[in-house]
Symmetry: D2
C-alpha cells in the first residue's frame, strides 16, 4: 500500500489529513505545530521531524501550506523536500499559491523526474471536516490518476482542469468571483440601507432575479459564450441603469466603488461600439481590451 | 369595468399592453409611434391623441417610458397628464427612472388627490411577451390593490416593496447587481483566457461553487445578516487571495478594474479591524463607511 | 453706458458684482437673499424684484447661480429671463453647469436672437473678492468682445476657449484635474503616514520632483503631445513601480483606490502594446480606448 | 582613497558609474553585460568576475539592479555579496525595490556588522547622464556621510529621508504621484478631445490653474497640513463638480476610471461628515479610512 506524506496541518490540512487516516491511508505527517502532529498520531499516522524525512518515506507527498514563500521553502532548493523525494514519487501541492510558484514546483519536479499535481481546495474548513471539499486539479493524467484516491477520500468534487498549473490558475479565477461578490453584495446592501428600503423585501427581490442566481450559468451559455450578441438587454440600457444607480448612490452618500468602476467599463464598451450588443457581450469587450481571445464554448 | 390608460408602447410597453388587451382589459393607448398604436388597436384598444386625453378617459393610467425626462414631460406640470387625471384615479409609472423623479410624481399625485404606484419591471422583453415579468412595486396598500389585477395580467412575480418610491429604489439595487455582475464575469473570463485555461473547464468549476450560485442567498442569511461574523473564511484570507489574483492578472496583462477596486475595499476593511471577521462581514464594513445601519434580518 | 443685470449674489456672485459696481458699471441685481441685494444697493446698484424685470432693463445679463436646475428655471422657458431680454442683449452665464444646460441656453438665445457667452470661474472666492478670478469663456468673438470689459473688471485671466459651450466644457476638464488631485494627494500622504515616514521630509522630496510640479506642462509638450513616444521612462517600468506601490500599500493596510485604478489602466495600456512607450503615452492609450483623437499640438 | 564597487550597469547604472569614474573615484564594476563592463573599463574602472569578488575588494558597494529578486540574489544569502563584504564596508542599494527587500538588506547588513544605505534614484536616465539625479536616501547619519561624496558626484539633489528603508519608501510615495498623474492627465486630455475642445486652448487654461501647478505645494501647507479645514472650496462643491464631470464624460463615452474612483472617495468623505470642509481635507478623510495619523506639519 502506498505511503502518503502530508506536510501542513493547519485549519484546512488537519481535517484533510484526518480524513485520509480514517479512510485507511498510511500517513507520515509533519508540521511545526506539535499538537497537530500528535492529533494525527492519535489517528494512526506516523510522523517525521522534517519535510525532507517525510519525502524520503513516501510515494505521494501532499503539501497544504499557508503561502507561496513557505511552499517554496519546504519543497524547493537543495534542502527542500523535493530533493529528498523517492524516484517515481508524486508531489501534490494543495496550497493556494501564485502561478509562478506552482510553475516553479512543476519545473523542479520535472527536472528531478518526479510527478507533480497542483490541487487547491474550494469550499470552507467545515466542508473539509466532512470530507466534502472541491478540488481544482492540474497535472498529467497519469499523475492525477495516482492521487485521485486521496482526493476522493477528502472531497466530493474533483475538477481536472488541465496540465500542471491549471488547478492554481482556476482557483484564482474562481476565488476572484467568490470574493469580489462580497464587495458587490456589500455595496448593494449599503445602497438598500441608504435608500431606506426594508432589508427583507430587498432580499426577496434579489433572490428572485438574475442578481443572485447566476446569469453566467443560466443566460451566458446561450448568448455571448456561443457568439450571440443580439440584445436581450443592451449594453446601452445597462449603462443607463448604472448611471441612475451611481447618481442615486452619490445623492444618498453611499460610496460604491465597484458600481463606479463597472459603469466606466460599460462606458468603455460603448466607446468601442458595443452599445447595442447584449449585456453579456461585456465579456467580449473586456477580452478585447485585454488582448485575449473572446470566450466561446466549443460547439459539440 | 375599469378603463386603463397606457402611455409608452416601446420594446417593453408594447408586449405589456398587448397582454392587458388579451386578458380583457379595456385600454386607451398613446405613443408617438403610430405603428405601435395601430398594433394595439388591432387588439381592440382605443387610442387618444395626447397623454392628457388618455388621462381624462381612464381610472388607471400606466406609463412605460424611456427615461426620467420624458416621464416628467408626460406626467408633470400644468400641461402634464396628471393635471388631466380624473379624481380618484391611480397613476402607475413602470419606467426605470431616478428616485427624485418617482418622488416628484408621488408628490404631484398626492397634491392632486390621486393615487400613485411605482412598479418598474424586472426580467427581459422576452419575459414581458410571455406575461412572465417581475414587478418591484411601491405604493399604499389600497393603491397597489387597485393595480394588482393589471400586474397579474402582465407578469408572474409581484413584490410590494414598501411605500411609493420603494419600487424604483429596489430596482436600482437589483439592477446594480445584475448589471455589475456582467463586468465581474467579464473580468473572470478574460483572466481565464489570459491564464491559458480551457473555457469549458473553468465554467464547470464556477458552476459548482459560490462563484455563481448566490452566496447572498445561501450563506449570508446565516452569517452577517444575523450578525454572526465568526470566520468561515476570513477577510484577511480573502484579501490574500485577491492579492494573488490581481498580481497574476497584472503579470498576464489582463486589466481587472473591479478586482482591483474590490481588493482596496478589503484593504480598507482590514484597516478598520475587520481582518479576522467572516468575508460576508464586508457588508458591515461597507455600511459603516457609508454611515448607514448594518444589514440585519429581523428575528422572527 | 450699458446696463448690466446680475442675478445670483452668493459666495462667488456677491464679490464679483461688487467689483463691477466699484469699477463703475451700472448694475441691476436680483437674488432671493435680500441681505445680499441690499449690500449691492449700498454700492449704488439698483435692484429688480424678478429675473424677468432685470432682463427687461439691461444690455448684458450675468447669471451666477448654484446649479443647472436653477439656471434653467431662471433663464429658460416662457417665464424665464431670456424671454424678457431686450433685442440685441447678451446673456453671460458664469455658473458651473452641465454641458447640456449650457447648450440649451445657447440654443434658446440663438432662437430669440440674443447673444450668449458661457464664462465659468476658476480659482476661489478669495480671488473673486480681490478681482483676481480666472474665466473660461465660450462664445462668438463679437459676444465675447461685449462682455470682456466686465470680465476684466472681475478677474485677471481670461481664456477664450472657443464657441458657446467651450467655457463650460473646459471648466469640467480643469476641475477634474484640480479636484481629483486632492484624492491623489490624500492617498500619497496616507501612504507616507502608513509607511512611517516623516511628513516634512516626504513633502520636501515631492516638492522637488515631477510629483507636484506639473509634468503635463513641463514634459508632455516635448513627448506625447508632439507624438514622440520614445521612452524617457517606459510604461512597463511605471507599471512595475505601481505594482510595488500597491503591494506596499496593501501590506500596510492603506487603501489606495486611485493607485489601484491607475495600475489597471497601465496594465490595459501594456495589453495593447504600449509597454515600451514613454509613460506620457498613457494619453494615447487612453484616447484610443475612448475612441477619440490622440492629443497632438499643432505644429507651428 | 576608497575603493567603490558598482554592480549593475544598465540604463541607469552605466551613466551613474561613468560619472563616478570621471570625477576620480576608483571603481570595481560587475555586470552580466560584458559590453557595459568594457565601457567602464575604458573610463579606468577595473572589474571583477562576480559580485562576491567585487565585495571583497571595496569599501563601499553600490548596487543598481532591475528588481527585488535580483537584488536579493546578488546581495543576500551565504553566496551573496554581503557575505563577502569587508568589515566596516557600507552597502548602498540604489535599485527600486519593495520595502521588504530593503528591510531584509538592512537586517542582513546589521547582522554582519556592515553599514547600509538605500538610495533610490529620482528623475530620468537623461538626468543621470548629466549627473543631475535626485536621491531619496535612508540610513544612519554616519553611513550616509560615507556615501555622500558618491551621491554628490552622481546628482544634484540629495534628500536624507530617515533611517534605513526610508529612501525606498519615499520613492514609492513619490512615484505613486508621478506615475498616477499620467493616467489623470490622460483622462483629462481624452475628456477634452471627447468634448470637442481645442487642445492648445485647454492646455493654456490648465497651465494657469491649480490643475497643474501643485496645490500640494502651494495651498495645502496653509490648509489641511496645519489643521485648517475651513473651506476655501468645500468638499460638497468638489463632489458636485466631479458629478458633472463624470456625467459629461459618460455622455461623451469617454471612460474615466480615476475620475469615477475619485468621486466615490469624495462621496465617502461626505458620508463621514467632511462635506463642509476644505477640499484639501480629503487627506484627513482618507487617513482616517486608512487608520493612520492625519498629516500635520510640525509647528516651528
Amino acid at each position: 500500500m502506498m505511503e502518503v506524506g502530508f506536510i501542513g496541518l493547519g485549519v484546512m490540512g488537519r481535517p484533510m489529513a484526518s480524513n485520509l487516516c480514517r479512510k485507511g491511508f498510511r500517513l507520515v505527517v509533519n508540521d511545526i505545530n506539535q499538537a497537530a502532529v500528535q492529533e494525527l498520531e492519535g489517528l494512526q499516522a506516523s510522523s517525521a521531524p522534517t519535510p525532507g524525512e517525510v519525502a524520503q518515506r513516501c510515494d505521494v507527498l501532499v503539501t497544504m501550506l499557508p503561502n507561496s514563500t513557505i511552499v517554496r521553502q519546504v519543497l524547493l532548493g537543495p534542502d527542500g523536500a523535493m530533493a529528498q523525494a523517492r524516484k517515481g514519487a508524486v508531489v501534490m501541492d494543495m496550497s493556494t499559491v501564485s502561478p509562478e510558484t506552482t510553475d516553479a514546483l512543476a519545473a523542479e519536479a520535472r527536472a528531478r523526474g518526479i510527478g507533480f499535481v497542483d490541487a487547491p481546495v474550494g469550499r470552507l474548513a467545515a466542508h473539509a471536516a466532512r470530507g466534502e471539499s472541491l478540488f481544482m486539479v492540474g497535472g498529467e493524467e497519469a499523475d492525477v490518476a495516482r492521487v485521485r484516491p486521496l482526493l476522493e477520500a477528502m472531497g466530493t468534487t474533483i475538477f481536472h482542469c488541465g496540465p500542471a498549473g491549471s488547478g492554481t490558475r482556476t482557483k484564482l479565477v474562481n476565488n476572484f468571483l467568490a470574493v469580489s461578490l462580497c464587495q458587490l453584495n456589500a455595496e448593494a446592501l449599503a445602497l438598500s440601507q441608504g435608500l431606506g428600503l426594508q432589508l427583507e423585501r430587498t432580499l426577496d427581490v434579489l433572490y428572485g432575479t438574475t442578481a443572485t442566481n447566476g446569469q453566467l450559468k443560466i443566460n451566458w451559455p446561450d448568448k455571448v459564450l456561443k457568439g450571440d450578441l443580439t440584445p436581450g438587454f443592451a449594453i446601452d440600457l445597462a449603462h443607463k441603469d448604472l448611471s441612475l444607480i451611481v447618481e442615486a448612490a452619490n445623492a444618498a452618500r453611499v460610496p460604491m466603488p465597484l458600481a463606479a468602476a463597472a459603469r466606466e467599463a460599460f462606458s468603455s464598451a460603448r466607446a468601442r461600439g458595443y452599445g447595442d450588443k447584449d449585456f453579456s457581450a461585456m465579456a467580449d469587450a473586456h477580452c478585447e481590451t485585454a488582448g485575449v481571445a473572446k470566450p466561446r464554448l466549443s460547439s459539440k
